[in-house]
Each structure stands twice: as C-alpha cells, then as structure tokens.
C-alpha cells in the first residue's frame, strides 16, 4: 500500500456532464488511522472520491463511518494521533498529504474552508464574533484590520445577521444556535475558498432553523461558484441540496452516483437500508420504519470480505470472503456482489 500505488480512479467511465470536467479535489485510496491500545482504528479505509468543480457532493453514512475523518484528513486537522497513512488527496496540483505545515496553513481557510457541526462549541467564547470573522481575511487576503472589519460587516449582513455593526463586538454567548452557525458560515466564506467542507452543518440546530441555514449555504455556494462537500446522515438534505451522493460504510465507499439515481434506484443493500429508515409520504401511522439490524463494525477488527455482510440480509459465502469493488450500474457505481433489483427484500 504505497502512497500512490493501486489507485482506483473513481470515475473512469462516467456518463453525462462529469466526463468533461476536471476534478477539483481527488481523493485516492485514502487510509486514515488512529493508534489505540486496542489496536489500529481504520477510520478511513481506502476511500477514493472525486469532487468536480462547482458540484455539491453529499457524503452520507452512519455515525462513525469516517465521514468527518475524511473531511479532517483533507484539512490536515486530524485529532489526537490520527494520521492519513496512505493515499493521496490532490487539490490544485498538490497532494495535500505531502504539503508542509506552511503550505497547509495557506490552503486552510483560504482555499478550503470548513463549517463544523457544533456551533455551540466551535467558536471561541472569549473573542468577539467580528474578530473571529475578520482575522482569517487579514491573513489570507492580506487585508488591513480596518478593511477586514468592513468586509466582515458585509459578510454578517450577507449571512442574515441583523444590525451587523451592533453585533460585531458581541460574543457568541449572546447568539442563538442558528445565529452562531451563520457566523460560522461567514467565517468559512470570508476568504472565498474554492472548496467548502460542511460537516453536518445543521444537525445541532432546530428543525425550523435547519432549512434556513441549508438554504443560506446553498445560496452562498452558488453565488461564489463554490464546490462543496456536504457531510450528513440526513437523506432529506441530500435530496434537496446535492448533485451527487457518496455513501460510506466502515471507512470506505459503497455507492456513489447522481442523487436522483441513487435515491430512486439504490443498488447497495446498505443504501437501501438508509433510505428505508426515512419515513415517506406513503407511510401510514403505525407503520414500522425499516432499520438496519446490528451495529456498525468495530473499526479495529473489520470483517473479511464485504464489510457489510454481518448486517446484510442478502449476504452469502462469497460476500464473507471476497471484497466487492465499485462497479458501474447505470449512472452510479456500487460495491456489492448482490446488485439487482432489491426492493422485494425490504418488503415493498
């Protein structure tokens, strides 16, 4: 498993509009691991993913499947002893995994920005929100403190914070969750990055605020022609906001394709399970939602073969022994030996 060997290009024969577009970000065989007393935790285990200029890609999966660790690997901000041990993350002709600390500081915030999940804890409590927005611009855009302040005021206005001048010198404890996330978004967009990583930006918010924040991110990203990676476990967000969707399970990708295709015609049993657990308009009161049996696998000792087989209703001997690779099915690709019309299995 060398740094660049055995790469598995994600879209060798894509159909439609993506064929002529260059990927802005190219993740190749990314392995991100944590050393623990129990052993090596394989948080991301050979993930390959391309993000095309201007698209919004949804990255979905259960908690702990490696979505956030993928984003943090891109940012070079893995916590603890987490390390991207193999693979490559190509962005603007550079492999981010081999960039020096100084190079990464220019990219972070400047070229790639991230919106975090918890607006309650992700902003510094002892610094005014205005300064938190303007400080990055002083560095990446080489603005003076005054210029950065003016731009921060514009940004506050733009993300929908009323009376920005009065709010500039406030601290985050004076803001509600939704307002904090707006501040967070203002920070992320402040230096006009090319790529936005949004890690469950609405999960911690009230349902009513979720839609507003989502719309705001979409609108800003569209205005700036920004490429975005939306990490979520909410299929509703994927359906409403994304162009393509990638489904992750146990640190690897099990299905990827255009949103319409994946949502209407899921190939992988795991994707079907995820979709089956979302209530639909046709469900009647008293109907039981489908739930995937069992728990996600222990990332220290992954099962052999397909990582999903212990929980898969279709698994047979081959699934337990041989790992399926991504194969093209229609417009999307899935890694499963059992790809076929599977709707019957879920009892539909």
């Amino acid at each position: 498993m060398g740094m660049d060997s055995s790469t598995q290009p994600e879209t060798p024969h894509t159909t439609g509009s993506q064929a002529d577009r260059m990927p802005l970000l190219q993740i190749q065989e990314l392995h991100t691991q944590f050393e623990t007393k129990q052993g090596t935790v394989r948080a991301v285990d050979g993930l390959s993913l391309d993000l095309y200029e201007g698209e919004v890609l949804g990255l979905v999966g259960e908690s702990g499947c490696g979505k956030t660790m993928t984003a943090l690997s891109i940012m070079g901000l893995l916590p603890g002893n987490g390390r991207a041990v193999a693979g490559a993350i190509n962005f603007e002709g550079k492999n981010l995994l081999q960039c020096s600390g100084e190079e990464m500081k220019k990219i972070r915030g400047g070229k790639i920005a991230m919106v975090f999940q918890e607006p309650m804890t992700a902003l510094t409590p002892t610094m005014t929100i205005g300064r938190q927005i303007s400080e990055a611009m002083e560095i990446h855009l080489a603005l003076s403190r005054e210029e950065a302040r003016e731009r921060a005021l514009e940004l506050l206005e733009h993300v929908g914070i009323p009376s920005p001048r009065a709010r500039f010198d406030n601290y985050i404890h004076q803001f509600s969750g939704g307002m904090r996330q707006r501040v967070m978004i203002a920070i992320a967009f402040s230096c006009e990055p090319r790529l936005l990583l949004a890690d469950e930006p609405t999960t911690a918010l009230d349902v009513t605020v979720q839609a507003q924040i989502l719309d705001l991110i979409k609108q800003l990203a569209q205005e700036a022609g920004m490429t975005a990676l939306f990490i979520t476990h909410d299929m509703g967000i994927v359906a409403g906001s994304c162009d393509r969707v990638a489904v992750m399970y146990a640190g690897r990708m099990v299905e990827v394709g255009p949103v319409d295709d994946v949502l209407l015609n899921p190939r992988h049993p795991y994707t079907q399970g995820l979709l089956g657990s979302v209530p639909s308009l046709e469900s009647k009161p008293g109907d039981r939602l489908y739930s995937i049996s069992g728990l996600p696998p222990d990332l220290v000792s992954l099962p052999t073969g397909c990582k999903f087989w212990p929980r898969c209703p279709l698994a047979d001997e081959r699934c337990k022994e041989e790992e399926p690779l991504l194969e093209q099915y229609g417009n999307s690709r899935a890694a499963c030996w059992k790809v076929m019309p599977l709707r019957e299995v879920l009892g539909e």
Partner: protein, 321 residues
C-alpha cells in the same frame, strides 16, 4: 463580606494577644518589670487592667477610627525600640510610633517586592506553562515541569542563601547582600526571584493544565481551520480561556506574596511587612503586630475581590449586577 471578615480577624488576633504568653507590660518595662508598683502603673497606662470586652471594644474603636494606635515603643519600650531601630537601619526611614504609619510604610516595600515577583511569575511561569502544554509529553514538557517542581520544593531559606553565595560571593553581580534601596535598584532582583520560585510550580501547572484542556476544543480546531499561525491560535483563541483558572491561582498567590514574604525579607534583610511581623512578635509589640495581621487580612479580602473583578475582563460571559 469585608466587614465581618475584618471583625472576626480582629477578634481572633486580639484574643490570642490577650491570652498569649507575651506580656506587653514586660516588653515595655524590660529589666524593670519586677517592680510591682511600676508594673501596675504601666499596665494602667496601657489600659490593660480593664476587662477583656472593654479592651476589645476600645481596640475596635481605635481601628475603625482610622487611628490604629501606638507602638509600645511610644511608651519607651526597650525591646520595641530595638525593633524599630533595626528596621531603620535596613532602609526603613520611618521614626513614627504610629501603628498605621509603620504598617503602611513597611507594606509599601513588601508590595514593591511582591510586584516584581508577580511580574516574574506572570511572564515566566505562564510562558513556561504554555510551552509545556504546546509541547505536551515531550522532553521540553518534562524538563519544564520537573524544573518547576524542583524550584518550588526548595524552601526560600535555602534558595535565598544559595543565590546570595553564587551571585554575591562567587560571581559578584550584586554588591550588597541585602537591604532595600527602592524597587528599581538591582537589589530587588534576587529577592523577587526567590519570592517567585515558591508559587512557580502552581502557576506553571495551572497554565499547562488550562492550555491542555483547551487544546482539544472545537473552537481551537475552528481557529486552525482558518489557517492561522499556531502562535495566533494560542494567543487569541486559547490563552484567555486557559487563563481563567490561572487567575484564581494568581489571586491566591498574590495574597501569599504580600503576606508571606517573611523568609525572603528576613534573608535579604528587607524591611517589609513580613520582617515587621517577626520583629514585633519577638519584641512583644502587640499593637503593631495586630495591626500587621489585620492589614494582611484586609489584603487577602481585597485581592479576592480584585480577582473576581478581573474574571469579567477575561471571560465575557461573566457579568456583575
């Protein structure tokens, strides 16, 4: 908060003085104390023949009246005379026998000394603490923590003489051994360092713990995600939050420096409030000693109050109504 604390401290020190083994009359009379007539005369003059309660109320009246009474040396005390002259010889210029002037004059010196110790602590101990936290679990971290343990576990009365031997006798950086010549004289450097070594460990550890706790916080990750240089991440996003527990310690340490510079002042022959406390305790000059104790209690209460006020400056979530 302030008034009850002061009254309780007054009651305790007064009671201890009243029932304690040192007899102020003997202190005043010196050799003459065996003369019964003279003894009774002085006792009456000092008002010590009255009942405890009356004496205490009288004492409180004197204190709250702003005139803190007179040193026994005003009554021609032999022993206390010596105490005053000792102080004078070491740079204390006051010849007054007013307790108030004696205490305030000495306190000014102790405060200057404590100020330098505090500057030394806030600059070096906090810097070392931050460095240890940022270089967590490396040789640098271990070296910083171990050396502060060593510095803090050697008592002032050992470090003091050792430094004196090194910097006065072996490498004569400083000419005079002790005394006080104003806060900007070179003489102030050594005692201030010795005074600061005691609480050094507390501040280093507290700072380190504060920063380590903040290191893994989400908002620090956000700051890094902006691409800020590490120096700014620490200075802008971590330090203020991490300083809140350090401020608590610094408050306690400040009280300790102001009131507990006993050994350092003794070793370096600095006529501060600690030295005054020892002198008056030894000589039996009760009015002055009680004044010292009472004033130290006041210092502790005041510093506590100041610490509470400073929290507001550090943590915007703290408000006062």
């Amino acid at each position: 908060m302030l008034a009850p604390t002061v009254i309780i401290v007054m009651l305790i020190t007064f009671t201890l003085g009243y029932y304690g083994p040192i007899d102020p009359v003997r202190a005043v009379l010196g050799e003459e104390w065996e003369d019964e007539l003279r003894y009774a005369e002085v006792k009456k003059a000092l008002g010590l023949d009255r009942p405890f309660v009356i004496q205490f109320l009288d004492y409180m009246g004197t204190m709250f009246g702003g005139n803190w009474g007179q040193s026994l040396s005003a009554f021609g005390g032999v022993a206390s005379d010596r105490a005053v002259s000792e102080g004078r010889g070491a740079g204390f210029t006051g010849t007054s026998t007013s307790v108030r002037e004696m205490v305030l004059g000495r306190l000014a010196i102790s405060a200057q000394l404590s100020f330098w110790a505090l500057v030394f602590l806030t600059v070096f101990a906090i810097l070392l603490g931050v460095l240890a936290a940022v270089k967590q679990n490396t040789t640098i971290d271990y070296a910083i923590v171990t050396s502060s343990i060593i510095a803090s576990s050697i008592p002032a009365y050992v470090i003091g003489p050792v430094l004196l031997i090194i910097f006065v006798l072996k490498i004569p950086v400083f000419k005079t051994v002790g005394g006080w010549d104003g806060m900007f004289s070179r003489q102030a450097i050594l005692p201030a360092i010795v005074l600061a070594t005691g609480p050094m460990l507390v501040i280093v550890r507290q700072t380190r713990a504060g920063i380590v706790e903040v290191l893994g916080k989400d908002f620090v990750r956000t700051a890094r995600a902006k691409g800020l240089p590490e120096r700014l991440v620490v200075a802008r996003h971590m330090l203020r939050t991490a300083m809140i527990p350090v401020l608590t310690s610094l408050g306690l340490v400040t009280s300790g420096l102001l009131t507990g510079s006993l050994f350092v002042e003794q070793i370096f022959n600095i006529p501060g409030i600690g030295k005054l406390a020892i002198q008056t305790l030894m000589s039996g000059d009760h009015p002055v000693f009680m004044g010292v104790v009472l004033f130290q209690a006041l210092i502790i209460v005041t510093v506590n109050l100041l610490t509470d006020l400073l929290y507001g400056g550090l943590d915007p979530r703290v408000t006062y109504d």
